[in-house]
Symmetry: C2
Subunit: 160 residues, 2 copies
DNA sequence: GTCAGTGCAAACTTTTTGCAACTAC
DNA sequence: GTAGTTGCAAAAAGTTTGCACTGAC
């Protein structure tokens, strides 16, 4: 069985537990949407999710997708990213308890930091009066390319 | 001189440098908006920013606020939060290089973790090929209240 | 004087809502 | 059967854009 499938199985169980605990219903739509989400670990918008559903030939309305995304976020199955554009960006919760992104202030490019020891460092931070599920760290700054670009502009200024 | 004023002065200098480096103009509007932003360290929406400007009796249009917020984010003076609602949430960059928020998946309440040693831990994470300006960590989970609520619901289920 | 920045309003996109029909429990 | 869910379309909310005018450099 593929890795993605194992993850999906675990996620489905998690969803069922959550729904039961909150007296909500386990509908075909919710299961299908969860399945779509677990086809990729990349960020996506609601619009993108609609396209994924269409590819699966499973019809749902936008309203349902919005409701499901909200539900999944509460169930800790989906993460809502800091909005970089017009629409909200979601991503399935990484299977590790902690993740870290580098975001360039200038070109807005996002890359992932995957140093295990660094992540464990963050994961070890204790939280009082709070049950942590997932930790996500954003490091804002300048990527190499934009740093170099900025330096060139400053040099140009000095000449004048 | 008040602490807020010192911060504003530093921010203004930072803005001027950024504008100059990028050959952009230092307008009255941008200075006034920056001033408004530095009146509080709390998160705000563009709509809220408009209200702050109205209180200051300084007229600007929405379009200008959107443009300014985008500019300030690029200048590393403003932070864009993960959207929890419909509209983007901004916050002035905290004066320390690192901050950490606890976000409840259930009630969406956000609280700040202010343990200096934990923050220094995150701040010490090295980044290759990237110049870090500010680090922000979100810990998603359940607050005490929602945890208790969830437990009550589960208990109730068991009885049936 | 030039061109980036602003105001205004219209256009556009994203998200929410109301209600009838449906279906999981 | 009951009440939570969904689809649809309309409404609301948030954001962007075009253009004429203004003002920083």
């Amino acid at each position: 069985m593929s890795r993605e499938n194992t993850l999906l199985q675990r996620a489905t169980a998690q969803l069922r537990t959550f729904l039961q605990a909150n007296q909500l219903r386990c509908t075909k739509e919710r299961l299908a949407i969860l399945e779509a989400i677990y086809q990729t670990d990349k960020p996506f918008t609601i619009d993108g999710l609609m396209q994924m559903m269409q590819q699966k030939r499973f019809h749902v309305s936008m309203a349902t997708l919005y409701a499901a995304a909200d539900l999944f976020a509460r169930a800790n199955l989906l993460l809502r990213h800091p909005a970089t554009g017009a629409s909200a960006l979601y991503q399935r919760i990484p299977d590790s308890g902690c993740s870290c992104y580098l975001i360039c202030n200038s070109c807005e490019k996002v890359s992932q930091l995957e140093k295990k020891d660094a992540l464990e460092l963050i994961e070890s931070i204790p939280t009082k009066r709070f049950t942590p599920y997932h930790r996500i760290t954003y490091i804002y700054g300048l990527c190499m390319r934009c740093k170099a670009k900025q330096k060139r502009q400053l040099d140009k200024q000095k000449k004048h």
